[in-house]
């Protein structure tokens, strides 16, 4: 187990997310708590983002409910390795239901970033892409550097899914870029932007 190796990973999470969300069109985005939510905010806060400030382990399932409710819209979940590890069962649930419009991108820095950069199990032995594939997610990939990043982003944004991509990103301390914090506001603005309904 080399808990320091992710300090040398080639890809920077903010660059990855900026590319992932560039010209996003009508894509609906759920961001898992912590660094992924800050990364999505850094790419430009949007009403069709739903950043989680808690509910660890729930991001992929929020994405599933949204994808089933909006089958004609692309739903992208951007989350971290620690958050995904807390909800591994949801990958089995998603594979069983198999909405083609759902994509999950795990930004894997092999650390719990909000609590002191402790190592997660992906620093030891766990391959989240292999877990997703074993659960039955049909389209999976792991990206470790610029090679293949463009193809993976294209899959996340457009391939018939569900899609699951792990992107290994460097463990690094970055300035916080915070999305709005008011939970009711986040819910209402999303529903208003999507369907003109805040009730």
């Amino acid at each position: 187990m080399d808990v320091t190796r992710s300090e040398n990973f080639a890809l920077h999470r903010r660059d990855v997310v900026a590319a992932l969300l560039a010209d996003r069109g009508e894509m609906l985005v759920v961001a898992g708590l912590g660094a992924p939510a800050w990364d999505v905010a850094a790419a430009g806060d949007a009403a069709l983002d739903f950043p989680l400030w808690a509910a660890m382990g729930g991001a992929a399932m929020v994405g599933l409910g949204l994808a089933l409710a909006q089958p004609d819209r692309r739903v992208l979940v951007v989350t971290g390795d620690g958050e995904m590890l807390m909800g591994l069962g949801s990958l089995a649930t998603i594979a069983a239901r198999a909405p083609t419009n759902l994509a999950i991108c795990v930004l894997d820095n092999e650390r719990y970033g909000e609590t002191g950069m402790q190592a997660t199990h992906t620093a030891a032995a766990t391959d989240l892409t292999a877990v997703a594939a074993a659960c039955g997610v049909p389209v999976t990939a792991t990206v470790r550097d610029g090679t293949g990043l463009g193809a993976a982003i294209a899959q996340l944004r457009g391939a018939a899914g569900p899609v699951f991509v792990t992107i290994k990103v460097r463990a690094e301390d970055l300035a916080l870029v915070l999305p709005p914090r008011d939970p009711i506001h986040l819910k209402d603005r999303f529903r208003d932007a999507l369907s003109g309904d805040t009730a």
């Binding site: 729930g58 409910g65 409710a69 069962g89 649930t93 819910k187």
Partner: protein, 174 residues
């Protein structure tokens, strides 16, 4: 078995349709197996089998963001799994409709069911989920209708607990 005991799942399913429920998350329990079958078979309901009940809390938050109503079915032991995920429901004020079959009530033959069954209603109360306890089969659909109004008109979190005496006590024999 009385007619009400046989037909309550159909009556509850009709109330779910009347409330425009589209997504139904569940972890199976023998007492709700017929209701789960109806949700799978229904043309307008999507039933989602979950690996753990807390997934359902997040599923229904996503459903509501996408403009759909949902319901969550489980047995009482699953309530313990939901507590932190209920943060989503409570902080964001998502609607939540839950139908919960009780274990650990008088007549329970498995002592391992007693700890969670004994605190289910209290735990839901602490988590700001309003609770209705249906002690008879013919009262369940009415409680579900009322809980659905509370959930979706609120929005709020509302649960119907179905007594173990309605479902029947599971007997383990060697």
């Amino acid at each position: 078995m009385t007619e009400a005991e046989q037909s309550w799942p159909e009556a509850v399913y009709r109330e779910l349709l009347r409330a425009d429920v589209r997504q139904v998350g569940y972890v199976p329990d023998s007492g709700i197996s017929r209701l789960i079958e109806l949700c799978h078979a229904g043309a307008t309901t999507t039933a989602v089998s979950l690996t753990t009940e807390e997934e359902g809390i997040a599923l229904l938050a996503g459903a509501w963001l996408g403009g759909q109503r949902g319901a969550l079915l489980m047995q009482s032991s699953g309530i313990g799994n939901c507590i932190n995920m209920l943060t989503l429901t409570r902080a964001c004020r998502f609607p939540l409709l839950m139908i919960v079959t009780m274990r650990g009530q008088p007549g329970e033959t498995n002592p391992w069911q007693l700890p969670m069954g004994g605190i289910t209603a209290d735990v839901l109360g602490l988590a700001e989920v309003s609770v209705r306890e249906a002690a008879t089969a013919d009262s369940i659909a009415g409680y579900v209708a009322e809980a659905a109004r509370a959930a979706f008109d609120g929005p709020a979190a509302a649960a119907v607990l179905i007594a173990q005496s309605v479902i029947g006590v599971k007997v383990f024999e060697d």
